[in-house]
Amino acid sequence: MCGIVGLFCKTETHRHELGRLTAVMLREMRDRGPDSAGFASYDAGTPDRTRITVLAEGVTVDWGPVAAALEGLLAAEVTVRAVHDHAVFATDGDGRAARQWIIDNVAGATVLSYGAQIELYKAVGDPDLAAERYDLASRTGTHALAHTRMATESAVTTNGSHPFATGADTCLVHNGSLSNHNRLRRFLEGHGESFQTENDSEVAAGYLAWRLRSGDTISDALEGALSDLDGFYTFAIGVADGFAILRDPIACKPAVVAETDDWVAMSSEYRAIARLPGAADAEVWEPEPARIYTWSLAA
C-alpha cells in the first residue's frame, strides 16, 4: 500500500516548523505502511557545500577515517557527524565523486543522498520511531517528503525504504510499483547512474537524476518519465528549488493535494493534511492522471 506525504512551504511562515508538520503528516500515514519509513528535508544549507547522508545498516562504521580518506580523494576539507546509524558528511569538494567513493569503498554503507540542501534518513519499523530517532520534528527548511512503506517489490530492509535519492538534491517517494525497472536500471547504469538496491523506486529516482543531470528541467524529466516508466505510481518529488507530483495515466494509487497561500501539501490520504494549520480553508483537489504538477521556490 504505502503512504506518502510532501510539504512545500511557499512562504517563510511555516519553515521553522517544517519537520514538526511533516512528522504530524507521517504519523497519519502510519497505517498505510508499518514496515519502515523515511524522510528527506531541504533547507537553505551553505552554497557550494555538499552534505552526504550515509547509512550503515547492521554494521558499525568508524566515520572519522572515512572522512579523512575523502579529504584525500577530494582535496578538500570533509567534516562528519554521526546521527544514530547515519552519518552526515559535509564538504566543499565534489559531492558526486564522494558518493561514488563511499559506495565503492565503505563496506555496509549506503549513500542515501547528497546535495547542498538535502538530508535524508530512513529506518525499518514504526514510522514514529524513525521520526523520533532522527529528530524529524526539529528540522527546519523549505520542503520535505516522507514515506511509510508496505513492501511489495523488494525486502523489508532499511535500504528498501524511501525516499530514494541518487542525484544531487533530487529525491522521490513512491506509492505503487514499476514493471520495467530492471531493464531501465541497466540502461541508466550504462549512462552513468549507480544504484545500491534492487528496488524499483530507486530506479525512478535514478531516472530523474539522469534527466536532470543531462540538463532537463524537472517538468521535462517528468514528461520523459510518463513514457519511459511502466507501472503504477504516485510520486512526490523534491529538487533543490522545488516540489513536484506525478501520477501514472491510470492513477490507481491515491493522492490528494491541498494548497494555501503559505504551503502546498500532498498525501496519500486527506487525514494527513487535515492536521495542518489552515487545512480547513485550503483548496483541496485530486491531482489528475499523467499531469505534471510543480511548485518552485523561484516562482
Binding site: E28, V256, E269, Y270, R271, A274, E286, E288
Partner: protein, 256 residues
C-alpha cells in the same frame, strides 16, 4: 438539503476528536427511524457513517476519508466538506450528499438511491454502478461510469477521458465537454423520457443542480457492441434452430 435537523431535533452529537468512529457507527446502526445525528471533527477519518440501515439523518461537519456512507441502505447523509475514495460505495437506497469534492470512485457499484457531489468528482466516478443515481455539480475524472450497468450519472460540468468505457445499460448525461468516450460508449438522442428523468434528478440534487436546465445536457450510453455474444452468434443459433425444425418438418411430411 432536506435533513430533518430542526432546532433541538438532533438526537445524537459525535465529536470524532473525542469518541471513536466505531462508537459513532454503532450508534447509527442502533438508531431508530426519525432520529438525527451530527458529527463534528471528522478530519479525514475513513468509513464514517457506514452501513446505515434505519431512516435517519446524519450531517457530518467537515471532510471525510475513504468509504464514507459505504453500503448505505436507508436514510440521508450530508457531508459539509470533501470526501476521499469510495464515497457511498455500494449504496442500496437513501441519499448521500457532499457539498465539496470527491476523489476516486464516488458511488462505485451503487445499486440504488441518490449520491450528490456538490463540487467535482475524481476518477472512475460511478464505476460499475448498478442502479444508483449520481449527480455531480462540477466535473468528473477519467473513466467515469466504467462498466456501468444501470442507473444515471449526471455531470453538470465536464467529463475527462474515456467516459463510459465498456458501459452496459446505465445512462450518462453531461452538460459540458466530454474529453473522450470510452470503448462502446456513444452519444444518444435525448428523448422526452430522458429529459424528464434528468429534470427529476436535477431537482432532487438541489442545490447542486440549481440553475441548470435539462435541455443543456447530452446523453451517452452503450453501443452494445461489447456484450458477451454478438448478433452473428444469435443468427447462427437461430439458423441452426430453423434448419433443425425445417428438417423435422420435412421428415414428418416424408413420413405422411
Amino acid at each position: 438539503m432536506r435533513l430533518h435537523l430542526e432546532p433541538g431535533g438532533v438526537t445524537g452529537r459525535f465529536d470524532l476528536s473525542a469518541v471513536s468512529r466505531r462508537e459513532l457507527n454503532q450508534a447509527l446502526h442502533d438508531a431508530s427511524a426519525g432520529e438525527s445525528f451530527e458529527v463534528v471533527n471528522p478530519r479525514g477519518a475513513h468509513a464514517v457513517a457506514c452501513g446505515i440501515t434505519a431512516d435517519i439523518d446524519v450531517v457530518v461537519r467537515g471532510s471525510v476519508g475513504y468509504y464514507c456512507a459505504g453500503m448505505h441502505q436507508r436514510g440521508r447523509v450530508l457531508v459539509e466538506g470533501n470526501a476521499s475514495t469510495g464515497l457511498a460505495e455500494n449504496i442500496m437506497s437513501g441519499e448521500v450528499r457532499i457539498t465539496g469534492n470527491a476523489t476516486m470512485s464516488a458511488g462505485a457499484t451503487g445499486c440504488g438511491g441518490l449520491v450528490v457531489v456538490g463540487g467535482n468528482a475524481g476518477a472512475r466516478c460511478g464505476i460499475s454502478m448498478k442502479g444508483v443515481d449520481i449527480v455531480v455539480g462540477g466535473d468528473v475524472g477519467h473513466m467515469s461510469a466504467f462498466m456501468a450497468q444501470a442507473g444515471n450519472l449526471v455531470v453538470c460540468g465536464d467529463a475527462a477521458a474515456d467516459l463510459g468505457d465498456s458501459i452496459y445499460e446505465a445512462q450518462i448525461f453531461v452538460r459540458g465537454d466530454v474529453e473522450s468516450l470510452g470503448a462502446d460508449c456513444i452519444e444518444k438522442e435525448m428523448r422526452p423520457a430522458h429529459t424528464e428523468t434528468l429534470s427529476r434528478l436535477l431537482a432532487a440534487a438541489s442545490p447542486a443542480g440549481d440553475g441548470v436546465d435539462a435541455s443543456e445536457f447530452r446523453r451517452y450510453g452503450s453501443a452494445r457492441r461489447l456484450y458477451n455474444f454478438t448478433i452473428d452468434d444469435v443468427d447462427a443459433a437461430a439458423r441452426q434452430a430453423r434448419e433443425r425444425s425445417e428438417g423435422e418438418r420435412d421428415a414428418r411430411e416424408a413420413a405422411r
